[in-house]
């Protein structure tokens, strides 16, 4: 047990240092070219209100989250409820008054498809 504890602990810190080094060594990402953004009305967004076809408006930006839903930490039901809706409030309070993390913020832009008109 002692040996298991020691080797697992050493491997853990090696892996954490590896992730840190990997992040340091990666060249910064080129900022994506900004295409002319599509504009959607809330009515249009409301048509995509299912887990299989899920748009959300958060802080004036429209996201197509269909492909992301299965990856969300909490159960599918919690987030799918917000499909087709203005979800800024829910995003910032996470239903229980906790905002999402900077990590979550960094995930969102990948799913951006336009802005609310």
């Amino acid at each position: 047990m002692r040996r298991l504890f020691l080797s697992a602990t050493v491997l853990f810190w090696l892996a954490v240092s590896g992730a840190w080094l990997g992040a340091r060594l990666q060249p910064p990402l080129a900022p994506p070219a900004a295409p002319a953004e599509a504009r959607y009305t809330l009515d249009e967004i409301a048509r995509h209100d299912r887990a299989e076809d899920c748009w959300m408006a958060i802080d004036g930006v429209v996201y197509e989250l269909t492909a992301y839903l299965p990856e969300h930490p909490s159960s599918l039901r919690v987030i799918a409820e917000w499909c087709g809706r203005e979800a800024s409030e829910a995003y910032h309070t996470k239903t229980r008054g906790r905002p999402h993390s900077p990590y979550a913020d960094s995930l969102l832009p990948a799913w951006r498809i336009g802005v609310v008109s």
């Binding site: 047990m1 002692r2 298991l4 504890f5 020691l6 697992a8 602990t9 491997l11 853990f12 892996a15 954490v16 992730a19 840190w20 990997g22 992040a23 060594l25 990666q26 990402l29 299965p70 990856e71 930490p73 909490s74 599918l76 919690v78 996470k94 239903t95 229980r96 906790r98 905002p99 999402h100 993390s101 900077p102 990590y103 960094s106």
Partner: protein, 426 residues
């Protein structure tokens, strides 16, 4: 440290502890199984829940209560599973953030580092880190054998704090209780029992010191009489004792395990206490009238004695369980007792043992002074008639037990016939 049949005879089972752990695992993984996820993410969640379930189980197996210990086949077997489940849980929980990062690594190493770096994250994840670091510190102390016992135990509690912090991390992330309905009360009960029931002694029974007799250099024997309901103890079992105050004596108040060395018909229990550290040295000044709180009884050493001839081997204060058995009445099987002690002044109970041997034709006593594992151990064992056909009961310091076990195996004694008790749980 006795073998399976003894545990079964006492109504407990050696598979009870792994069965409880498996049930907790199944409950948590059944609830949280990430069916709609795949890859590293799914692995991370499985590791997280498996680790959480085992941590809660490990906490349950830390509870020191006579009934529970009997259910799990003895306190030593229970503690062995406590160690195993805690360590395996820790390894699984180390894998949990790493596999989460591995999932993000596919996207980019920067993303992977963001998953791990607490400052890029929310307080729920800080709690995860805090829990892991507490577990790490607690376990590091657990595995440092050279720490003094009191510091060792204080640091070991860090691991308990890690479990609680980890459970709060899960609750905060989950946003609902889920399996925590099971795990949180379990953890609270286990820690509560440990702190209030065991360490403060609310679950202990009141006894009083009737007499104190010095038996050798740095070894006293105290007879304790019950002030209320008495415990049913059999030879080979031990109790946890905390000595309180008397007219001139102030006990250290901590619970320490001592093997019962004699069981009176009136429910009185004798314990032989050797000065092995601060508290047991202090107890050498014990006086009649001091109050004692006892918990137990625990253990099943000597419970399984096969019908055939016996080999008993005692080192130093490890003679106490054999004293209880010999004082309980004449033997029913031919028994050779090898008793090793450091020097003549250290040989506790030797006169009484000689009288017992003279009165009981079935008992052969061999006593010898030696410092450390006796050089003559192999020779003494070889002189025991029909050695390989006996069943062995060993009690003493770990190096002596190890040397004796090896020698007995070499002499052809089957491993299942060798039973032993160590005076340390670490």
């Amino acid at each position: 440290m006795s073998a399976a049949p003894a545990a079964l005879r006492r109504g407990g089972s050696l598979v009870a502890a792994p069965a409880v752990l498996l049930a907790l695992l199944a409950a948590c993984l059944g609830w949280a199984w990430p069916a709609e996820l795949g890859g590293w993410r799914a692995l991370s969640i499985v590791c997280a829940w498996a680790g959480t379930a085992l941590l809660a189980g490990s906490l349950l197996l830390m509870v020191r209560a006579a009934r529970l210990a009997a259910l799990f086949g003895g306190l030593d077997a229970q503690y062995r599973w406590h160690h195993r489940s805690g360590t395996v849980a820790y390894v699984l929980l180390l894998a949990h953030p790493l596999t989460l990062a591995a999932d993000a690594w596919a996207e980019s190493p920067v993303r992977a580092w963001q998953v791990l770096a607490p400052w890029a994250q929310h307080w729920t994840v800080w709690l995860g880190w805090l829990a892991l670091l507490l577990l790490m510190a607690g376990l590091a102390a657990t595995f440092s054998l050279h720490l003094p016992y009191r510091r060792w135990r204080a640091l070991h509690y860090l691991a308990g704090a890690g479990v609680v912090t980890g459970l709060i991390h899960v609750w905060a992330l989950l946003g609902e209780a889920g399996p925590l309905w099971l795990l949180l009360p379990l953890a609270a009960l286990a820690l509560g029992w440990r702190l209030l029931g065991s360490d403060l002694g609310l679950a202990a029974r009141p006894y009083r010191v009737r007499s104190v007799v010095p038996h050798a250099a740095g070894l006293i024997e105290a007879v304790l009489e019950p002030c209320g309901p008495r415990m049913a103890v059999t030879p080979g079992q031990f109790v946890f004792a905390a000595f309180g105050d008397g007219a001139h004596f102030h006990g250290c108040g901590e619970f320490h395990p001592f093997t019962v060395s004699g069981i009176g018909a009136d429910g009185a229990l004798a314990v032989g206490i050797k000065a092995l550290g601060p508290c047991s040295r202090h107890v050498q000044a014990l006086e009649p009238g001091v109050t004692v709180r006892l918990e137990g009884p625990f253990g099943g050493f000597l419970a399984e004695r096969a019908a055939g001839p016996q080999l008993w081997l005692a080192g130093g204060v490890g003679i106490t369980p054999f004293m209880a058995a010999l004082r309980a009445g004449p033997l029913t099987q031919p028994t050779t007792l090898l008793y090793f002690h450091r020097s003549a002044q250290d040989a506790a109970y030797l006169d009484e043992l000689r009288q017992l041997a003279a009165a009981d034709p079935l008992l052969t006593l061999v006593s010898e002074a030696a410092d450390g594992p006796p050089p003559m151990l192999a020779a003494r064992l070889a002189e025991v008639p029909g050695l390989a056909g006996r069943s062995a009961q060993l009690c003493g310091p770990a190096p002596l037990i190890q040397a004796a076990r090896d020698a007995l195996l070499r002499h052809g004694m089957p491993a299942a016939a060798i039973h032993f008790e160590l005076f340390d749980f670490r």
